[in-house]
Amino acid sequence: MSRTRSWPRMVALVIGAIFFLFPFYYMIIGSLQAKRDTSITGIIPTHGVTLHNYAQINASLDLLRSLVNSGIFTGGVILATVIFGVLAGYALARLHFRGRGTLFALMLLVQVVPFQLLIIPLYVMIVRNYGLGDSYMGMILPFAINSVAVFIFRQFFLALPEDLFAAARIDGASELRILWSIALPLVRPALLTVVLITFIGPWNELLWPFLVTKDVSLQPLAVSLANYISNVAGRATNPYGAILAGSVVLAAPVVALFVAFQKHFTSSELGSGVKG
């Protein structure tokens, strides 16, 4: 990659980044202001910053408890998706079994159907029939295995060179062994993508946990924040600031996660596994 020609590209990227980040910047500034400032000069915090909004929102909804609930919900989904999704993705890509095509078609169909169509039947099934209302399991269940993740795993396994597997089969290795020793160790780049993508859904999900949990101590942060916005915010001294403070708290862990893991997206990783 030639360095000299990358100047205009850098400039374009940085300008783009500024546009992308501006609403966030505004959000963070807003959460640190004592009074709502709607003018252009409000972009620069001239009146000083304060943590009052954070204190206020922590007083109205237990931030720590909500964060823990969000963590449990999201963690449960990621765990189930990674474990069962890898297996299913591998099976769909590399193994020939009866019903494979049908399963693939069904998996695609899942993407297409909007959640709002299924939400009430699901709710009746999970709360009435299974009795899982007000429980973490009830929250996790409809999201347990993310189909986009299964798709990504499948595409990933498909892209692996056939020779790897053919060689192992000729050597007499059993399918399980191939899965364990060859396929799984290679899955790391896809794994990271999947974790990052699967994280967002449950972390920011409003509708489902809200329906399923009436007990406030079980609600994840996204739901508590939405409740706060609809009902209590009007009484706070700077409701706008408190809402933004809650939103910053909601967004921070995911951004942190991404920053921590994004450096693994480099091109050298996969190439080495295939050569020679």
Binding site: T102, F104, Y123, V124, G234, Y240
Partner: protein, 431 residues
């Protein structure tokens, strides 16, 4: 690929049949025994902080006197609308015994779901309701003649105005001319022209089904002398009164006296609007923020305040069929709507209990709190949403057409009223 898609479709259809078998039918609940059973129960209160305060102390008083029938109260799980929450709870079978936040517009829907208990099943219910509410209770009867809700409290909507802004615009803050449409429009123009406020008044221009309750409906109640939107299953608003109100609001939007964009927050409390159409629950919110005064809603030619009707914005209480100890629920309901508890409600929240004797029974409180007196007098002349089938769909249809014709001026107002009236009448007639 075709074969696989076909197979997937077959699986879905198979699931459909299974689903159908499991969803229909079911055993009938033994209503008889639950009706007289006594024991611990759960209730939901609204999220309004003052109501929660009242509710908690009411429950405490009950629990002290009834240790074998303890009541657990919690705030209603919040959402965009309480109807969604309660409807979902009814479907799941985990609704509480009482909900102190049942909207009259949702009662037909809940009733259809089989989620409510007819209060008439309790032998003393009819008499109790009649004694407490008088003839005003009739607005709350269901089409089958029974009461599925107890009319509890009302927030008669009136016009709040910002006295400081009036003064700034050169209008007398103790008696601004707001009683006829002509006066109201002239006052509004003065306010906006003088720069005293960004908007003369700022009703929410959004399309949720309930928004019309705070712009069109109160004025229509006044102008029509107390008519509901629908009477005898027919729309009433395709009339001189309805047209008059709709055209008034059209003028307000056309002359830019009210913005077409929503304000996130309370525009009156944040001093962006000089007036607001709201009820007494907002008084604690405005305290210390706005120097406010109150006037009745305007009518086209002006009426004496004692003749003006308005929207009640009532919230009622209902007993839900999932309740196991309905005997206790009914007893608690009577306890919480007794004269003492209604008085506590009034003094704690400022909202008006729906009793026929409010101005007399609580006269001493009202004389020491004159700001509430106007609302107390208004309680006798409130109009409720009609108790008809498909009431939410009706309000949504009305709002959509109102938004298009009155707020955004896309379609002519009178014609829109006529076509919506036809649509609404059809909806009311459907099961």
């Amino acid at each position: 690929m075709k074969k696989k898609v076909y197979a997937a479709a077959v699986i879905t259809l198979a699931m459909a049949t299974t689903a159908a078998c499991s969803s229909s039918g079911g055993t009938t609940a033994s209503g008889g025994s639950a009706l007289t059973a006594h024991g611990p129960i759960k209730v939901w209160l609204s999220n309004n902080p003052e109501e929660v305060t009242w509710g908690t102390s009411m429950v405490k008083a009950w629990n002290a006197a009834h240790p074998k029938e303890l009541v657990t109260a919690q705030q209603i799980p919040a959402g965009k609308t309480s109807e969604e929450v309660i409807g979902a709870a009814i479907t799941a079978g985990n609704a509480p015994c009482l909900v102190y936040n049942t909207s009259p517009s949702a009662v037909p829907g809940f009733q259809k779901q089989g989620g409510l208990v007819a209060l008439d099943s309790f032998p003393d219910a009819k008499a109790y309701i009649q004694a407490r509410n008088g003839t005003a209770a009739d607005q709350y009867k269901s089409p089958d003649g029974k009461f599925y809700q107890l009319p509890w409290k009302s927030n008669p909507v009136m016009i709040f105005y910002n006295k400081d802004m009036m003064k700034k615009a050169g209008i007398d803050p103790s008696a601004p001319p707001l009683s006829t449409y002509a006066d109201f429009l002239a006052t509004s123009k003065k306010i906006v022209a003088s720069g005293a406020a960004k908007a003369a008044i700022w009703p929410a221009p959004t399309s949720e089904f309930f928004q019309s309750w705070f712009d069109f409906y109160p004025l229509y109640a006044a102008e029509s002398g107390g008519k509901q939107l629908i009477e005898n299953n027919k729309a009433t608003f395709d009339s001189a009164a309805g047209k008059s109100v709709a055209n008034f609001w059209r003028t307000i939007y056309a002359d830019k006296l009210a913005p077409q964009e929503v304000y996130t927050g309370d525009s009156f409390a944040d001093q962006k609007a000089a007036m607001a159409v709201v009820g007494p629950w907002a008084i604690p919110v405005y305290k210390g923020k706005v120097n406010w005064g109150v006037a009745p809603v305007p009518t086209s030619t002006g009426m004496p305040a004692s003749a003006i009707h308005t929207f009640s914005d009532a919230k009622n209480v209902a007993i839900y069929s999932a309740c196991k100890n309905q005997g206790t629920a009914w007893d608690l309901l009577k306890f919480s709507t007794s004269q003492a508890q209604d008085g506590a409600l009034l003094t704690t929240t400022g909202q008006m209990p729906l009793r026929q004797d409010v101005p007399t029974v609580y006269a001493s409180y009202l004389s020491t709190h004159p700001s509430y007196k106007m609302f107390a007098d208004q309680v006798a002349r409130t109009v409720e949403v009609p108790n008809v089938n498909n009431s939410i769909a009706i309000w949504q249809a009305f709002r959509d057409s109102y938004s298009s014709s009155v707020i955004f001026g896309k379609t002519p107002v009178d014609a829109a009223l006529t076509s919506t009236a036809a649509k609404v009448t059809t909806l009311a007639g459907q099961p």
